[in-house]
């Protein structure tokens, strides 16, 4: 059998090669079918059979689970034979291959994003297709995956104690996925981050950042009045208030100290002035004394 395959590979008779390839295809020997079809394709370009060859080649890769190549050929088919009755299937399979190629959420999601775009363009181009519903389902599944990915990323910043990054990442997530089920949890992380960020700040920045944390808390309870994090958030609010009080007390002390210093300075200045004015008046007396 292997020798037959070799012979076909070496054969210069295109028709024989094609027939052999199709036989392998029908017998589900997709590796051999794909190898032969790939060799035939450039020579056949422009010939009648090439439409069929390209379509089968794409499927041969698809059945071998080589979704990158399958997607490539389905796409090429769709772009070359836009008018073919098989074009609808090719476009769907292009998107579907991308969908199957999409890896777990913690890896690069480029193919997920591509799959969404292609699926959407399939729905737009073939609104009557019976695959439409499935396509929409896949799109929403893929979107959920992206959502999960960026949720994990935002959460990790909090876990790593990188509070500023955590707040920025949560904001970015809210913008990208305004309806996400993760928004409540992430908002809570943002609140915690804001509190930690404020408490670890220099005194000069503390008040401003605590005020900000208060604002986040207020927004949080307004938006999620029934939140399961309510109790914890409220505790946090209490702690923020305590911190604020301390900051205020310290500020009062600082102000008092400053006022005192100011007063001392003023007194010293006044004294100096007095002495100066005395001095201005004394030289005569001194002169007198020295004389």
């Amino acid at each position: 059998c292997a020798s037959k395959f070799r012979q076909l590979q070496k054969s210069s008779d295109i028709q024989e090669k094609l027939a052999g390839a199709l036989e392998y295809y029908d017998n589900e020997k997709y590796y051999k079918a794909a190898t032969l079809l790939e060799e035939i394709l450039p020579v056949l370009r422009g010939a009648e059979e090439s439409e069929q060859v390209l379509f089968k080649l794409a499927y041969a890769y698809y059945y071998q689970k080589q979704y990158t190549l399958a997607g490539h050929y389905f796409n090429r088919f769709y772009e070359t034979y836009t008018r073919s009755p098989l074009a609808e299937e090719a476009l769907y399979m292009y998107a579907y291959s991308k969908y199957l190629e999409s890896p777990r959420h913690s890896l690069d999601q480029s193919s997920t994003e591509e799959a969404i775009v292609v699926m959407q363009s399939f729905i737009n181009k073939f609104p009557q297709s019976e695959k439409k519903e499935e396509a929409s389902k896949i799109i929403s599944e893929l979107q959920k995956k992206l959502e999960k990915k960026y949720y994990e990323v935002a959460k990790q910043y909090y876990k790593l104690d990188r509070y500023k990054a955590s707040m920025a990442a949560v904001d970015h997530f809210h913008k990208g996925f305004p309806d996400s089920k993760y928004n409540e949890e992430l908002s809570f992380y943002k609140l915690k981050s804001a509190y930690n960020y404020a408490t670890e700040s220099f005194f000069a920045k503390k008040k401003e950042r605590l005020d900000e944390a208060v604002k986040f808390y207020e927004n949080f309870i307004d938006k999620y009045p029934e939140s399961k994090y309510l109790k914890e958030a409220e505790n946090l609010y209490g702690m923020i208030l305590v911190e604020l009080e301390e900051v205020n007390e310290q500020q009062v002390k600082i102000n008092e100290y400053k006022a005192k210093q100011e007063k001392l300075k003023k007194e010293a200045e006044e004294k100096a002035e007095q002495e100066q004015s005395q001095e201005e008046s004394t030289p005569e007396t001194e002169e007198k004394e020295s004389e």
Partner: protein
């Protein structure tokens, strides 16, 4: 076709109308299929099209796109009742079936075929033919064959209709070398320095000094002889250099071939060098390249040097964030310095070794800042420069993404990133992140790309890290010669990007669960019955995922059996070692953030059963328990793990066993060995230092020093037979075949040949082998042959010396066994590091009569000591 004309006239070009296609005819077909072509055109019978309209031109474009046809036109045959008959007229192009390159070697043929990208089955166009000819010619010209002639002919291939064979006939001619380079107009600078600046345009090797002297001697007549002896004139250094340069050219490493492109680059380099020295107006007035009688190249270069310029006033314009003084300090150029624009640009834009102005801004969010030096006035030899700065706004990072990680999970990468949302943009953090990502070892360091996408509207920036994964797992399947053990086979597997939590997840096994950055290694080593060893270790670099603290566990089991000469079998007792260890390591930020502090606790048990070892342990029967705590502080600042060029690595470690003897009143010296060593006690100090320095280019010097000492808590408590030092040979990193020893390599001497003895206090005929203190120094010069990520190969030359003592009192850093030699290392990601060395030992080992002499060593894995 007259008919066509009149019918066509019926179409009103100013007033497009819709027609239905009644029929499409194709003319000029030879091998192509009619209906396939029609379908490629996108036109279909029954379609309604506008005429004139873009459907027709787009159909022509579609047909052209495939490159299988020459001319194509779509004409209207006739128009009737709103229907139109179309004709596609085309000429087909021949297809390439075979390529035949003659006049070159087989390997060149192969390289060329890849180079010229002629795809069989493709349509052959004139452009492809011309490009092929040029590509082949260029290939040889770049190799120094300037006179290469390429003739391309085509002939019909009878095998395939419309097919052509292409014959490429190459006549390389002879390789052109550069005989001499002559300069004129060079006064202020040195000709030999200039020649050195021409990196790829080099003269041929020549040693004419003897010829010249001989000629001088032969032609001396009596008159000249007098001058020869009586007159001495002072030759300045420049003259001597010139004489040597004219007559001697030692140029063994650089090819002297002439390559036009390189020559042009080298001319630019010459001018750049002049500019660098303050000659701002320097130019090459004229240069001639011609052949001498031997058909070698001679180059004449006439240089206009111009005058040397100096900086006068440097003025900063547009700086609001930083003061003139701050900027001056970073620039470090003063009035009266040699005018060097290259230096200025380096200090303004990017200075790899020190601070630069742009970095001042770029590390503080000013992503859009620009600096441009402008010469505002030239007076005599003085130049005033104005530094025009546009500072722009501060940019904040709003989002960070990673792309291309198709195996490594996000969390493993994100925790290493120093570019974080919410922070100001910083160029320095980008550079550090790049370095740290490459040190993970999961990605190709050359392809880690930070894409910085600023948004000018809201002064935010998105940073996208593009990475390309590379295999990081290692398989070690090796056989080696292990001294008296004979042949030892090793099977080791190291997975550097393992995922423990997915170990039960079936879908994650392809072939192994990966992506969490954990390390798992398993290894087995054996030479049959005599020696077997199994070990396994697991490491999580970020325990808990919160802080970079590593957690590791490892376990090991080894057995060694003694050889019985009477039965000729390995049944003379055994030594079994089993143990495990648990460790915790932490990156620390003080004294700087290259430090790691690690702790570990380990327990090893040695079981001796009538065992007679190759190396004397001092007892044959009994159990020895070794429970110890280890603390180590290390610093690693090397720039790259495989071929370090800069930085250093050091570790200082302390291992402690509990001080049992302080709590019992045992008189150890009077105890039998099996009781004496039941609970081993000692402390051990180890110190290792390695430093890397670039000598020239990629030539790197590694300097290293190692020291170790084992001591006892109480003078009367003996140090056990285990954990002692054995020195000599390849040291086969981390895989001491001799159980319970710390093996230190010393090339130029046999494996484990430096092995002092300590006699038993109770029984003078009995003794323990192994040192309790050692020292070793070494220097190694390395030169890389390949630095590609698929294979790092380098050659090395070394000098080293070391010694190993049973008693610290004998310790003497001048009493060393010295050696020198050379070797090579090859690193491939799948196999790890493999090496071979030849060393010559200069000193005579105790009990021998001649120096150790010539020794070969094989090594596997990275050598630590």
């Amino acid at each position: 076709s007259g008919n066509t004309q009149t019918d066509q006239n019926k179409i009103d070009y100013s007033n497009p109308k819709e027609y239905e296609i009644a029929d499409i005819e194709v003319k000029g077909l030879e091998t192509l299929n009619k209906s396939a072509l029609i379908s490629l055109s996108g036109l279909k019978v029954g379609d309604r099209i506008k005429l004139p309209g873009e459907k027709i031109s787009s159909a022509i474009k579609k047909l052209w796109k495939h490159g299988i046809i020459g001319n194509v036109s779509i004409n209207v045959d006739k128009v009737e009742d709103g229907k139109v008959w179309l004709v596609i007229e085309l000429t087909e192009r021949p297809r390439l079936t075979r390529i035949n390159i003659t006049g070159v070697s087989k390997s060149q043929q192969k390289e060329l075929k890849e180079d010229v990208s002629l795809v069989r089955g493709r349509v052959l166009t004139d452009a492809i033919k011309k490009n092929t000819e040029l590509a082949v010619k260029k290939y040889f010209v770049n190799k120094g064959f300037l006179n290469t002639k390429v003739v391309l002919t085509q002939e019909k291939d009878t095998l395939v209709a419309n097919g052509v064979k292409v014959n490429v006939k190459v006549d390389k001619g002879h390789k052109v070398h550069i005989n001499e380079i002559y300069f004129s107009g060079v006064e202020d600078l040195d000709e030999s320095t200039l020649k050195r600046k021409m990196k790829k345009t080099k003269e041929k090797v020549r040693v004419r000094i003897f010829e010249d002297m001989a000629r001088g001697l032969l032609s001396i007549n009596s008159k000249e002889l007098k001058t020869f002896f009586s007159e001495s004139y002072e030759a300045d250094w420049k003259q001597i250099k010139k004489y040597i340069n004219d007559n001697v050219k030692l140029n063994f490493f650089n090819a002297s071939k002439f390559v036009g492109k390189e020559y042009e680059n080298d001319k630019d380099a010459l001018i750049a060098f002049y500019n660098h020295k303050g000659y701002r107006d320097a130019a090459i007035v004229k240069d001639t390249v011609y052949l001498d009688k031997n058909e070698n190249v001679i180059i004449d270069i006439e240089i206009y040097e111009g005058r040397k310029y100096f900086f006068r006033d440097i003025k900063w314009v547009g700086n609001f964030v930083y003061s003139d003084e701050q900027l001056d300090r970073v620039l470090g150029v003063e009035k009266g310095d040699v005018y060097d624009l290259e230096l200025i640009n380096k200090k303004l834009q990017f200075n790899p070794t020190d601070q630069d102005i742009s970095g001042l801004y770029m590390d503080n969010g000013y992503l859009a800042s620009r600096i441009e030096p402008v010469e505002v006035r030239v007076e005599g030899d003085s130049i005033d420069v104005e530094m025009r700065i546009y500072e722009g706004k501060q940019f904040t990072i709003n989002n960070v993404v990673v792309r291309g990680n198709d195996r490594t999970n996000d969390h493993v990468i994100y925790r290493e990133l120093r570019t974080r949302p919410g922070d100001l943009f910083s160029r320095n953090q980008i550079i550090r992140t790049q370095r740290e990502l490459s040190q993970l070892g999961y990605f190709d360091p050359e392809q880690i790309t930070p894409n910085v996408n600023p948004n000018m509207n809201d002064n935010t920036v998105e940073i996208e890290w593009d990475v390309v994964e590379r295999p990081s797992d290692q398989i070690e399947l090796s056989g080696g010669w292990g001294g008296s053990f004979g042949f030892i086979g090793t099977l080791g597997l190291t997975f550097n990007n393992f995922s423990l939590r997915n170990i039960l997840n079936k879908e994650a096994w392809h072939p192994l669960p990966t992506g969490d950055g954990q390390k798992l290694s398993v290894r087995a080593q054996a030479n049959g019955v005599q020696y077997q060893s199994y070990s396994m270790s697991f490491q999580e670099p970020w325990l808990g995922g919160k802080k970079p603290q590593s957690f590791s566990v490892s376990g090991t089991y080894s057995i060694q059996r003694g050889y019985n000469p009477t039965t000729a079998r390995y049944d003379a007792g055994s030594l079994i070692m089993k143990g495990f260890s648990v460790g915790l390591g932490k990156r620390i930020k003080w004294p700087d953030d290259y430090f790691t502090l690690s702790h570990s606790i380990s327990y090893y048990q040695y079981v001796l059963n009538e065992f007679v070892a190759d190396y004397r342990l001092g007892f044959n029967n009994g159990i020895s328990n070794n429970f110890s705590y280890n603390i180590a502080l290390s610093r690693n600042s090397i720039d790259q793990p495989m071929y370090p060029r800069a930085g250093s690595q050091f570790t200082i470690g302390l291992t402690l066993t509990p001080p049992y003897s302080l709590f019992n009143d045992k008189d150890y010296a009077s105890l039998d060995p099996e009781d004496r060593y039941n609970k081993v006690e000692f402390y051990k100090v180890l110190f290792d230092l390695k430093q890397y320095q670039k000598v020239v280019g990629n030539l790197v010097l590694e300097a290293k020093a190692h020291f170790g000492f084992i001591g006892n808590y109480k003078a009367t408590t003996p140090i056990g037979p285990f954990e002692r030092f054995v020195m000599g040979g390849s040291g086969l990193a981390g895989q001491s075949y001799i159980i319970g020893y710390d093996v230190i390599s010393l090339r130029g001497y046999e494996d484990a040949s430096i092995l002092p003895r300590e006699s038993d206090p109770k029984d003078p005929s009995n003794y323990i082998e192994g040192g309790t203190s050692f020292v070793k120094f070494g220097a190694e010069l390395r030169y890389p042959l390949s630095l590609s990520p698929t294979a790092t190969i380098y050659v090395l030359g070394f000098l080293e010396g070391g010694n190993n003592w049973a008693n610290i009192k004998e310790f003497n850093t001048f009493d060393l066994y010295k050696s020198a030699g050379f070797g090579a290392r090859i690193f491939m990601p799948a196999f790890g590091l493999i090496g071979i060395d030849w060393g010559y030992g200069f000193d005579t080992l105790p009990g021998r009569t001649s120096p150790s002499g010539s020794q070969f060593h094989f090594t596997i894995g990275q050598q630590f000591k």
